[in-house]
């Protein structure tokens, strides 16, 4: 199932149960998968048109009236374009608004560099009060949506729109503030978020064939990062690799490095090497940005060599 279909179904259920859940778009409801909800919930769905700043601050106003607004756009327009509105109208004002950015990083594919956010986590991570969540698959997304809705505060969700390989089993238990250990290991820790999680799982199998026992941890919530799990795993294995569909500056690697600042543990990264995106399909973009299973395996070997 496409991630946006799961997302829209969860929103529909929440709106059905609570008239105060409202959704605001900036002319991208079709892309976000929520267009069909307009007919069903005419008093809870609002399209602001191509005006993201207004959308963000309207949501803050609605929140002051007791509503629980979700706003959605592509990641660059939900973050860097409205950074001040997210910072001031939403987080500084302590408003309960959920900000959803779709098509993170290379997922923007044919929309190309202008629509490809490599910096959104960095932008939002430096705003006090913001929680940042990036789901791995439909199971995690389905489990997370009611938790996000119940959480009283601003959250940025970085949402891949289309289908993703399922990583979690149906018995999955979600904790917004607890990272998930997908595979225990003793040689190195690999921390990953979002769409590359399945690739890390695959890389860990290849590493196992080489006799390298990698621990794989999904950091679905990048802020606040689960320091306890990150530090405990890094201390146990003594080497770290971070993997992210984002600039290596400001994203998961930065968050992990901050958590491990007092530890003498090598940290390597697979991520976008401080460059803008470009147009292309996912296989091309994975190669161009170095976000491949081969690179994850190579990164793991490098981290191990630094032990």
């Amino acid at each position: 199932m496409e991630m946006r279909a799961v997302y829209a179904a969860c929103l529909a259920e929440m709106m059905e149960n609570d008239k105060h859940v409202v959704v605001l778009d900036a002319d991208l409801s079709k892309a976000s998968g929520t267009l069909a909800l307009y007919k069903r919930f005419p008093e809870q769905m609002f399209d602001c048109g191509v005006a993201e700043q207004n959308m963000a601050s309207i949501a803050a106003g609605l929140s002051s009236y007791g509503f629980k607004p979700w706003i959605e756009s592509f990641t660059p327009f939900a973050t860097r374009r409205i950074c001040d509105q997210v910072a001031i109208s939403i987080s500084y004002a302590k408003r309960n608004v959920k900000v959803v950015g779709t098509d993170p990083g290379i997922a923007a594919e044919l929309n190309g560099g202008t629509h490809m956010s490599m910096e959104d986590i960095g932008v939002i991570r430096s705003i006090p009060g913001m929680v940042i969540f990036e789901p791995v698959d439909e199971v995690q997304l389905r489990a997370a949506m009611p938790v996000l809705n119940a959480y009283e505060g601003p959250v940025y969700m970085r949402l891949f729109r289309k289908e993703l390989p399922v990583v979690f089993g149906e018995d999955y238990k979600f904790d917004l503030f607890k990272a998930d250990t997908l595979k225990e290991g003793k040689d190195l820790s690999i921390f990953v978020s979002g769409m590359l999680t399945a690739d890390v799982v695959e890389a860990s199998r290849l590493l196992a064939a080489e006799g390298i026992d990698a621990e794989v941890i999904n950091v679905h919530t990048i802020k606040p990062i689960d320091r306890e799990t990150v530090i405990a795993s890094a201390r146990k294995t003594g080497a770290v690799l971070t993997v992210e569909n984002h600039n290596v500056i400001g994203g998961l690697q930065s968050a992990v490095l901050e958590a491990l600042a007092a530890e003498k543990i090598p940290v390597c990264a697979v991520g976008v090497e401080d460059r803008f995106g470009e147009v292309g399909k996912l296989p091309y973009l994975r190669e161009a940005m170095g976000l491949t299973v081969e690179n994850i395996v190579a990164g793991a070997r490098k981290a191990l060599s630094l032990k």
Partner: protein, 275 residues
């Protein structure tokens, strides 16, 4: 209760001078220019109860030109939301009265504002919320003329008209001055009434926005537009620094300026007509 609005305006102006004079510096010009609108709203038109600042269904005021915070605080204190003594804590470390309005710190403040343009969109969101709740509240907002250079103001204007938010009555404090010069010199917003009309708003142009009777009439007139399907913009042609001649005479330098306690005391005598 019927208040003498002219006297209320004097009280608010004096308290603005006292708190900014005590601190020594502040956004004095744009605080003094909005006093009549605040007096009319808080002492006549708004359905509010200072004893129940979170009363459901209350009318709300959002000061999008958040730097007029001291004027709003002086108004709230005069209306009984909190003790006037608290005004002397303006901008002191740990105060509940920061330079720009903060809904999480100050009793009676309905929205956090200060990053220009955003408060107006928030007000539009509040007006939408009130419509959805069908609670009959009227939502008031104040924007600055310099603030009207922000693109977000016009995004909000378009949305409010498009969604027929006729429970929204906004004011522009058209004092014609901003930090770097006159509004006309820096980046002219004229013709302002025509712009708002073109965006689908009812427009009321008040010749003297510092004449409390004119402001009162304008709000009464605007209230007739509740239910018209259109939001209303009241353009207040005001004087930046109104009430204190030396501040008016500073011209565009009066946006944020030093005020000594002696100057504040002299200004209070001027406002009271004691000189």
């Amino acid at each position: 209760m019927n208040y003498d609005l002219k006297e209320i305006c004097k009280d608010i102006r004096c308290d603005i001078m006292t708190c900014i004079g005590h601190l020594g510096v502040g956004h004095i010009g744009g605080c003094l220019s909005v006093v009549e609108a605040l007096a009319v709203l808080y002492f006549k038109e708004m359905h509010i109860d200072p004893k129940q600042p979170q009363m459901p269904g209350r009318d709300r005021f959002i000061c999008s030109k958040g730097h007029a915070g001291p004027a709003v605080y002086a108004t709230l204190a005069n209306r009984g939301y909190f003790d006037k003594k608290e005004l002397l804590t303006l901008n002191q470390g740990g105060t509940n009265l920061p330079s720009h309005c903060d809904m999480n710190r100050t009793i009676g403040i309905d929205m956090t504002t200060g990053s220009l343009g955003q408060g107006f969109s928030c007000a539009v969101g509040v007006a939408l919320g009130s419509k959805l709740e069908k609670d009959g509240a009227t939502i008031y907002a104040m924007i600055g003329d310099g603030e009207s250079q922000e693109g977000q103001i016009w995004e909000a204007a378009m949305f409010a008209a498009s969604k027929k938010l006729d429970n929204l009555i906004a004011f522009t404090d058209y004092n014609k001055m901003q930090i770097d010069g006159t509004v006309a010199e820096v980046n002219d917003i004229a013709p302002l009434a025509e712009k708002w009309a073109a965006f689908g708003w009812n427009v009321i142009d008040v010749e003297d926005g510092n004449d409390v009777e004119q402001v009162e009439q304008a709000v009464e007139h605007a209230k007739l537009g509740l239910g018209s399907g259109k939001p209303t913009m009241i353009i207040l042609n005001t004087l930046k620094g109104c009430g204190v001649q030396w501040i008016v005479d500073l011209g565009t330098a009066n946006h944020n300026t030093n005020v000594s306690e002696e100057q504040a005391a002299a200004a209070i005598r001027e406002i009271r007509g004691e000189d």
